[in-house]
């Protein structure tokens, strides 16, 4: 049984101000919750149907968190259009402090990515490409927004997401020997550039691109070339799609360079 107050709490956690006030966030979706169970995040309460519990009981170490509920009860509390069999109410962790050094592999800095679906998809892309450090400007969507969690699938459990000004991350890049690259329409063709593994890739806001102040610090400007000859319209790519293509090219060049059969 989920109390009325808990349902009200869960619904409120869609908004950042309540996540901060209640020091809590929620995770939904059976695949995501099952990955959450053994992650670094602390589950306060797990509302789940018998279907979910049968499948996952063996991986739950602290049985006290479990509250078995019916599908109907879950539906009432869920923020999803198509509720599944589990909702986890978690402790909101403290804001993650910047690392002392940047990873030697590719890293990403997001400058004001506002769509939660884009941020979640980018977290999932980082996970795929083994990118362990994802930096976000202070105006980027909040990683604990339920839509970010949803789009990231289980990947938010594995990628380290930091919120910071660009200046601080740029300083870290300098001291760690990371070269800063920015995705800009005025940049050079990514397929004609030597892209180093130890790089910090900056991606800009969906509508406005990279902030002009930040752009001043970026000497390596790159872009995905357009392939469509019809220039009547300015085609564009979704920022998460562009991120995926650029990460793919960085990784290919460093791990599978000049491969020939």
């Amino acid at each position: 049984m989920i109390s009325k107050n808990t349902i009200k709490l869960i619904k409120s956690l869609e908004q950042k101000k309540f996540r901060i006030k209640e020091k809590a966030f929620i995770v939904e979706g059976d695949k995501i919750v099952s990955e959450l169970i053994n992650s670094k995040f602390k589950i306060e309460k797990l509302f789940a149907t018998s279907i979910f519990l049968e499948k996952n009981i063996s991986i739950i170490s602290d049985l006290k968190i479990i509250s078995e509920v019916t599908r109907e009860e879950l539906n009432q509390a869920s923020l999803l259009k198509n509720p599944q069999n589990s909702i986890a109410l978690c402790n909101l962790p403290e804001t993650k402090k910047l690392p002392e050094k940047l990873d030697k592999n590719l890293k990403i800095y997001l400058d004001d990515i506002q769509d939660p679906g884009n941020l979640g998809t980018i977290i999932r892309i980082c996970d795929w490409f083994g990118i362990e450090q994802l930096f976000c400007s202070l105006n980027t969507a909040d990683m604990f927004n339920p839509k970010v969690i949803q789009a990231s699938m289980g990947s938010f459990c594995r990628v380290n997401v930091y919120y910071s000004t660009f200046d601080q991350v740029a300083k870290l890049a300098k001291s760690s020997g990371s070269v800063i690259y920015g995705a800009l329409l005025t940049g050079e063709n990514i397929y004609k550039q030597k892209l180093p593994e130890n790089a910090l890739l900056v991606l800009g806001n969906e509508g406005k691109g990279i902030n002009s102040e930040i752009e001043k610090s970026i000497f390596n400007k790159i872009k995905i070339p357009e392939f469509n000859s019809d220039d009547k319209f300015a085609e564009s790519l979704n920022v998460s799609v562009a991120t995926a293509i650029i990460c793919s090219e960085f990784k290919r060049q460093n791990l599978f360079p000049n491969y020939s059969k």
Copy 2:
């Protein structure tokens, strides 16, 4: 002024059965509508505020279609969370007949892609990479679903989208000298394969992948390799993100092969 009946009509067009019954579909969003105006699609009625009309009046050849409305009126009719300044009510075109020959460039076949956002994003990716023929299985989302139109941005105006069984497209591929490639978890590393320009790339359903019957016809199986060494969890990529990465690699190999500075 938008009549109550028209509002009812617009709202009903969210569903395929009403789009077919009314032979109509709608397009929203100022950027998308402005690209629609000079496309092959026929606008029956354009509901727009003075803001939209001032910007776009010069490109509208048939002024009879215009119905100037207030922002409030548009809000009432809109299917969007954040309505903009225009809604176009368009004629639903006849189902597009398969072409006689396949294009010599890369083509895509989608096997039951069900999420409209994914289909729209893939249409946008096709537009970027100059992929002119996109084939969809009969169970793939409908390209005239407002969510597909939205995610495709203006790209649905430019990419040719066909609905067909795989067999018919495979026959065309054979007669056009196109090699069929399928994205499968059991496939070979795309970065270690020679990928020809004249290919038909098959992508499978979000959850189930490529149908086993179709898989039998695919001799060239490819995949994006995983880069994350932590194999405790099966990472995955969103199908539209995977499409973008694979298209990028096809294009890079054929247009910028073995580039070195």
